[in-house]
Symmetry: C2
Subunit: 193 residues, 2 copies
């Protein structure tokens, strides 16, 4: 396998630090130190920490898609079972991180979307793509009669994703899985039912 | 009215800046500048920025209680109507802030609860008190037959609060009320029904 470029190493190191410590909790030097690169080299590859953060949002979505989102396309499972497995897979990843990292989209949304238009824009795109992917499975489930049609697929997908983000945030504060377990129970009993 | 003490002025200035810019986006100097106080005076009143932030969580809960939470005790209204008015009041406050501040509990939860035990502890207390207050009204609603009993009051309250936090976070990214409007529609149609 080819050695990743310095640009890619900086991007991955930045994503990791942003995910654990937030945007303002991460300095350019933290990123270059983690990538084992001289500080000055950063600006050969990114115009600013903000530019790297915006790209880290895309990278995060790409990595998470390869780990979790493909579960949504596993048509061997019925739509409702597939959705449940998808959210359980997200919850297992949160548990593996001891509930301490949270979701980069939620973290950046809470920390910087109030005043940073570029990062907000990338977050908006990431949430929209995620909502579409979940909505597609809900649509299948509605057609199959597994999921009630009192709200549209897009509405149910958005509500469910927001409820998951809030539950993950609460799990991060509590350092336990109870909020995420409750999310699955209520969602599959009352929302997607 | 007595002039607030410098300590109180620092606390209010800190709360305001933390709410808008986050923990790591706020410096001690930002706080003393906003309070019109010399930087050195900060440490006469707080041992650290972290100590002020932990106290700001309590102050935030106290202020929000006086603005919104009393609606939960307005027994002139039936429980379900009261809960709806309460969440609509929170949503109106979010709209008034142009969706840009979010909730201090959610913001700190996302930004610093992963690695800051003191702030996490205060956030845990704040979420627990909030959940209790909402659960009390849900319990009344269940007794009155307005709300289904398939989950306990504490479970329904926790799920609802998490879903609201996630919707507010999404509204902050989108800069519009759609996620919060959807929260009310789905919650009162499918969760608290």
């Amino acid at each position: 396998m080819a050695r990743p470029s310095l640009r890619e190493q900086l991007l991955v190191a930045g994503l990791d630090s942003f995910h654990r410590r937030g945007f303002n909790g991460t300095s350019v030097q933290d990123i270059t130190d983690a990538a084992g690169a001289p500080k000055g080299s950063f600006y050969n590859h990114f115009v600013s920490k903000e530019a790297l953060a915006a790209e880290a949002v895309r990278k995060y979505v790409e990595l998470r898609r390869s780990v979790h989102r493909d579960l949504l396309r596993d048509t061997k499972l019925k739509p409702l079972r597939r959705l449940r497995r998808y959210f359980e897979s997200l919850n297992q990843a949160a548990a593996k991180a001891a509930f301490s990292s949270g979701c980069l989209l939620g973290n950046f949304g809470a920390e910087v979307s109030g005043y940073n238009p570029l990062i907000s824009k990338r977050l908006g795109e990431a949430f929209a793509g995620w909502t579409d992917a979940v909505a597609a499975v809900i649509r299948e489930g509605q057609k199959a009669g597994e999921i009630s049609r009192d709200f549209s697929p897009a509405e149910l997908a958005a509500f469910t994703i927001h409820a998951w983000e809030g539950a993950l945030l609460r799990a991060k504060v509590a350092k336990n899985s109870a909020p995420l377990d409750l999310f699955v129970d209520v969602t599959f009993d009352k929302i997607l039912a």
